[in-house]
Symmetry: D2
Amino acid sequence: MADPWETKITEVKPNKLSIRGYKLDDLIGNVSYTMGIFLLLRGRLPSESEQKVFNAILVATMDHGVTAPSAVAARTVASCGVPITTALAAGILAVGDYHGGAGEQCMRYLQTILLNKPENQSLPELAERAVKSSRERKERIPGYGHRYHTDDPRTKKLLEIAKESNIIENYTTLALLIENELQKQSGRILPLNVDGAIGALLGDMGFPPEVGKAIFAISRITGLTAHVLEELKERPVRTIIPEQAKYTGPQNKKI
Amino acid sequence: MADPWETKITEVKPNKLSIRGYKLDDLIGNVSYTMGIFLLLRGRLPSESEQKVFNAILVATMDHGVTAPSAVAARTVASCGVPITTALAAGILAVGDYHGGAGEQCMRYLQTILLNKPENQSLPELAERAVKSSRERKERIPGYGHRYHTDDPRTKKLLEIAKESNIIENYTTLALLIENELQKQSGRILPLNVDGAIGALLGDMGFPPEVGKAIFAISRITGLTAHVLEELKERPVRTIIPEQAKYTGPQNKKI
Amino acid sequence: MADPWETKITEVKPNKLSIRGYKLDDLIGNVSYTMGIFLLLRGRLPSESEQKVFNAILVATMDHGVTAPSAVAARTVASCGVPITTALAAGILAVGDYHGGAGEQCMRYLQTILLNKPENQSLPELAERAVKSSRERKERIPGYGHRYHTDDPRTKKLLEIAKESNIIENYTTLALLIENELQKQSGRILPLNVDGAIGALLGDMGFPPEVGKAIFAISRITGLTAHVLEELKERPVRTIIPEQAKYTGPQNKKI
Amino acid sequence: MADPWETKITEVKPNKLSIRGYKLDDLIGNVSYTMGIFLLLRGRLPSESEQKVFNAILVATMDHGVTAPSAVAARTVASCGVPITTALAAGILAVGDYHGGAGEQCMRYLQTILLNKPENQSLPELAERAVKSSRERKERIPGYGHRYHTDDPRTKKLLEIAKESNIIENYTTLALLIENELQKQSGRILPLNVDGAIGALLGDMGFPPEVGKAIFAISRITGLTAHVLEELKERPVRTIIPEQAKYTGPQNKKI
């Protein structure tokens, strides 16, 4: 028989449930789902500022329309006559190194630099060296540039909220210094993209890199659900060509 | 070539993204993730009350420890040397009629009764008839009783918040009347369980039954992530026996 | 602790493995994979004839090009930077009621008729009644007609082999009588399709209906592997439009 | 609109299907499923000898009882009330670096050595150097030793068939030389395991390493189907403890 083992997540007894040490009936009604996600992944509740930034991150990636490969995979599977959760899982499977993975890669890249930072070197010096080295090895730095958005409104807004919330530390500072250096050394604008910004902010809030794709999945599963529900109204087994989709929903709504 | 088709979810143009008609950079920082989920699934932002109840629902189901089959599936797959999102998808696949599905079934059950409600019949009469008929056919009404929790603290708290928030309508009223009738006609207490309560509340907020398992998945993917991250610290390909797990995390935390 | 339980599939002891009672090292080298599949699913080895027909079935469905939704799902996921088996699983998820499911439905349909067959009624009478009833209720009989192939070469070949192999019993006989009746009563040709033929033949070999989609998956995973391997040579995260694919492989090969 | 693209797998026209250039109705009845798998993955039909060895490989890995994590994942998901293919996909997701992945790793390891083989060095010299280097770096060579079987009957049988079939080339020769060297240099027996043997044989038949896990999945999906069908007879949402399973199937069958 396998050995006893330990878990530090949730305690389940008859009529008594606790998550990370908090009674679940204390959490229900007193914390938002965003706080719950933070609690489960980081082991503690977020500060007011962290909550604001984490909310912003989760909202920023919750959907990217019908062209995202996860949406195509989920809709394709949904059109075959399977349960909704089967289709959602197919969408989650599409979250990989090339889709929803740039945040993790950027976080890992920044982490490697920061963990190896020599005492006497400043962040601007690190950024300069990092860009130089990437240019010499002709390697892209993950989290910069976007195949579609040249001036991504999500990145701008995320960084704005992060600044207001005072949560920016070494990760985001370094990420922005690298953005600067990239322009300085190449002469071209290669902006920090939404994945890169999220990676940097998660790093500053103490998340480990390996959680990057999971947080993307926690957010994107919402968009995938909307896509699957919409797809279920179409005829079964249709070919889904994202480029032929026309947006016919509401326009110009104000909050 | 396949025909053009319509989508009403997200509009994606270079440097411009809108979800359900709202600019994404307006949503980021101004709405919580919970509001974002509601917006994507219901097509509109929630009221203050709806937000409170929807938050409570999402927090209530975000984890149920290592015995949940979705946790076992996700941890088992995670122990085999695959990406974290592959393991999460395996967990989502375990959400089915017998795990995370009772809310949907209860919603569908209540919906059928309410849609076929004769003009001249009151909700208490409907409840009486429903329980009678289920007893005659010896069929369980979905959403009542729990194999583990006899007095589920989550249900109590959810209903408390719902009452305070004034969102209770026909679904939850009928669900509670049925709980009463079950006791009256059988002499045994068979309480509305957490899935049943969630199904009824979602019905009162206008969600269609088919969204039940998806909302469970949107919530539970968070717990699954915590389980997968914890599992990745164990040795690979181990046999995961939930009953041999011991909770060794923090205790008695206060919010 | 959960109760002991029984399994009748495989016995694993140190240095000793048996499947369905046969030592695995006796099976290796002495039976074909097709025989192994039959053994695992039916609990016994196939006869020579059954082996021939079962081989034919597995070969018939192993691929249907890039337009199959399972191929689209698998290729879409493969293009996102995930392990090959993650992409294969996404393809398997697409096997559902509307893709690879017709065989199971046809088997179930025929089974229902045969299990309820009155003593004094002949198969031709049953077929006549079945078609009449389906026309009155305006319901399609599963396993007839194809959205693409009007005269499917696979069906013809499968039935030819089945006839030569003498394995045709009530299921296939009834399926063919129904094909006849459909033409007689409607005046139109609505041929037994490949899924219907496979369902009927599996029924005659004693497989239960619920195994239908699984056998399709066992066969189709091979085609999916070929698609995923081909996709991995393309650039990542591309939009896969089946209709724009051009077959450029070899032509007119002879066995 | 996305660009046209090429596929070399299957050509689909109305009433005409070809795989790798062969008309599908020529393949049906004339080739075994094993030959079909080989054709789809290698682009050509196998020789008599290759067919024999490939059959042996597919049979060798088709099941390993209820303790395999893929069986646990598939059964756990199956117990939740989902379609059979959803459960099979969960099992496939468990095929990873630590489960069904050793063959690929061994193939890759041997390939790296063989591709970098200096002109003037013999295979025995390469084996000696490889073992020495692995011992110095304290790294395990993938494909040797087994946590459970010390003298795996599958390996012995596979190599026996391979020898009879004359398909052994550099991969398997090197793999066996390394087995020898491991014993010579360490004094302990660390036998080539079933995954290692399969990896070496697939390498000798010209398969690329990345196909390793896929071939394991093509074979194991059969065992998973048997497990899922068996599990569906158990009560839903049960905890599946492999160590408490007792084999109660047939014994000592002869082919």
